[in-house]
């Protein structure tokens, strides 16, 4: 590689690193538009133990076969999801726990009571007339709702099933409403009016149809919203706990700064002992950290928790270890008599075996944990896994490449790489 090519590549690399660094940490508004660019670091989802919040575990009450029906479980989760989204808690995480329980985690929630209410019952389903009188409600009068084909007009409609009490109330309601100037029957779920069909005659029946040439989705939506006046299975709250943020408000920035200081000290050590090799390691470590942040933000199932931070620490530690193992090997090879170039080549080759062995064992552990454990340990396993795989790439391949690039610019290989001929490992 010629000197010129070296310089070009080094400049290119510095620019790329600078841009990546900027993208990772800077947030800013784009010119005069409403768009805001969020730093990659802020995109990383935080687990509830870092952001603080509230969590609830719901357990099905009845023990008849229904309770373990997977489909009903999914439906219940969906309903809860809708309720939370409607109330603005879009960051909530809903998972199945132990097969038939539902775990809801809501970050950054202050009012515990409000949350429980949302999950527990929510928006009462009410049927009102134009003047605001409530004629029916979801609890006592509706048995269920489903979407059905509208054979008459085409499209889909929603069919309501009443309880006996509901049927008679409905008859009364329609009887009164048909004569009103505003002859619509307003169907409310909580604060939202989901439908207002016109009532033209008294309807004595224990079913009613809401027509409006709905598409299948629309009909399903309305039906499930009505149906969600009640959850499909009766659930009971078995666990409810508010979690205060383990990090505190300003800790995010402080932690990153501290990590940076720690890294800086490590850089100094590497440079002192390994000089040129250390330089390559430092550059690849910087790339490693930046890429790590990017991947943590991109991969969807990543959720940063306190154990997750442990995983990151371990991964960074292992990345540094890999470099150390390789470089010590290079020094050994050189001490045994090889030329600088050969020592580097051979050192990388031989030490890669060791590095792979250590990393593979940790990868095994991480994969098993990821598959078997739910929740926070899963988060730990994922962050660890990403970190290790990434470190294999940067510590072995990237360092090697950087050395190749820098080499043409170096006069005295031995001095640059701090290689010594005397026997042993000093």
């Amino acid at each position: 590689m010629s000197k010129k090519k070296s310089i070009v590549l080094i400049t290119l690399m510095s620019v790329v690193i600078a841009i990546l660094g900027f993208m990772c940490f800077a947030s800013f508004n784009v010119g005069n538009s409403i768009y805001k660019y969020n730093s990659i670091v802020s995109i990383i989802r935080q687990g509830i133990d870092l952001s603080g919040g509230y969590y609830v575990v719901l357990e099905p009450e009845s023990t008849d076969g229904k309770a373990s029906d997977a489909e009903l479980l999914e439906k219940a989760k969906e309903i809860i999801r809708t309720r939370l989204d409607d109330k603005g808690y879009t960051e909530a995480i809903i998972n199945t726990q132990d097969g038939n329980k539902i775990r809801v985690e809501i970050p950054q929630v202050d009012d515990d009571g409000a949350v429980l209410e949302i999950i527990g019952q929510t928006g009462e389903l009410t049927f009102k007339d134009g003047s605001g009188n409530v004629w029916l409600n979801g609890q006592d009068h509706i048995k269920g709702a489903y979407a059905a084909n509208n054979t008459q007009d085409g499209g889909y409609m929603v069919v309501l099933e009443f309880t006996d009490q509901g049927a008679s109330r409905f008859a009364d309601a329609t009887n009164t409403i048909k004569d009103m100037s505003d002859n619509k029957l307003y169907i409310w779920l909580g604060d939202s009016n989901i439908s207002a069909p016109a009532v033209n005659e008294q309807i004595v029946s224990n079913t009613a149809q809401i027509t409006g040439s709905f598409t299948y989705e629309e009909a399903m939506n309305i039906a499930s919203v009505i149906d969600s006046g009640k959850l499909p299975i009766q659930y009971k709250v078995t666990e409810a706990r508010s979690i205060s943020s383990k990090l505190g408000a300003s800790a995010g920035l402080t932690s990153i700064m501290m990590a940076a200081i720690g890294l800086a000290i490590i850089f100094v050590i590497m440079l002192i002992r390994y000089r040129g090799l250390g330089l390559a390691a430092c550059i690849s470590l910087i790339c490693y950290c930046l890429l790590y942040i990017v991947f943590l933000a991109i991969i969807p199932s990543v959720q940063l928790t306190l154990p997750g931070i442990a995983g990151i620490l371990l991964a960074i530690g292992m990345a540094v270890d890999a470099s150390i193992v390789i470089f010590e090997r290079i020094r050994e090879e050189y001490a045994l008599g090889k030329t600088a170039e050969a020592a580097v080549a051979h050192g990388f080759k031989r030490a890669t075996v060791t590095v792979l062995d250590s990393n593979v064992t940790t990868i095994f552990a991480a994969i098993i944990l990821w598959l078997v454990c739910p929740g926070t340990i899963k988060g730990f396993a994922i962050t660890l896994l990403i970190g290790i795989v990434l470190s294999l790439f940067t510590s072995i391949l990237l360092s090697r490449w950087i050395l190749k690039v820098i080499n043409p610019l170096v006069e005295d290989d031995e001095k640059f790489l701090n290689l010594k001929r005397e026997g042993g490992n000093n």
């Binding site: 575990v57 357990e59 726990q97 132990d98 775990r103 709250v237 078995t238 666990e239 409810a240 706990r241 508010s242 383990k246 990090l247 505190g248 408000a249 800790a251 402080t254 932690s255 700064m257 501290m258 990590a259 200081i261 720690g262 000290i265 050590i269 002992r273 306190l306 154990p307 931070i309 442990a310 995983g311 620490l313 371990l314 960074i316 530690g317 292992m318 540094v320 150390i324 193992v325 010590e328 075996v353 060791t354 062995d357 250590s358 064992t361 940790t362 095994f364 552990a365 098993i368 944990l369 078997v372 454990c373 926070t376 340990i377 730990f380 660890l384 005397e422 042993g424 490992n425 000093n426």
Partner: protein, 336 residues
Amino acid sequence: MSKLMKKDFNIVQKFPLLIFISFIIIITGVVFLLGEGLNLGIDYKGGAKVEIELIDEIEDKAAFEEHFTSFMKDQGYTVVDKMMESPLTEGGISYEFRLAYEYHGARVEKDAQEAFITRLNNDFKNGLTDEVEAYLSTVNSVNLFDEEGINVAVIGESSSKSLLNRTFIALALALVAILVYIMIRFTVSSGLASICGLAHDVLITVALTAIFRKYLPVNMTFIAAVITIIGYSINASIVIFDKVRECQKSAAFAYASDEEIANYAIKHSLVKILLSVLTTLIMVVALVLFSVSTIQEFILPIIFGLLAGTFSALCLNPSLWVLFRKVGAKIKSKKA
């Protein structure tokens, strides 16, 4: 450094002394744990948790614990386990009590538990909080209460337990996988020695944590710390046994004894391992010094584990390897 290298290195011979040191630490830890009644942390057992958040430490904790327990008993509630103290992120201390599902001595069954919690909550809202606050202000020189007051929460027993049990199983599986891998890539003796080193590291970590924190928080965070230590310990072991493997393949060591190989491996891995643990410790310590208290209590086990891991990799594992080789040879000669 070079002077140290020229010295004769016989760690293997010092094995009995070295393992004795570890033994002492572990036994001390066990004694501490048993003495405190194996306080496994509220996450594991479930029940109702009453959390009292204060601005500062209570001056006479034992007296408060006694008072609170009998005070709750008068109301019909049974406090079980010891009071737990933990720092809060934004400053302040939280004291936790676990209440059993019992009311006036009678067990509260599952379907009545929700009502139990509601009643507990209401009791506190309607006067118990004030009484606790009044008591604290008489026995402390400063008023320790802030608006947070007293918080009642439910810890579902089955949920945390099954979570933790799953994790233990996963850990066991992972350890088996690691053991098998090392046995294949290296030798059976190396594998066994590594696992023993691992067990040692975990025990020391648990023991030291118990000694310093006076209870063992068996929760997810602690387990994550333990796994981190396992990962690190394996790495250190592999560095040593990689060296051993290399020696065994090389002609120069064809007639060397196991002890000589072990000592050589230690000597020539010393720098690698020390630098490794140094760099990892720097990362960890940086986080600890300037971070919030909750991170500190989580990092402490990691630091213990790192030190234990270094110690076991350098001083214990190679000697164990020699031991296992001897045992293996004996078994073979018996068969022959």
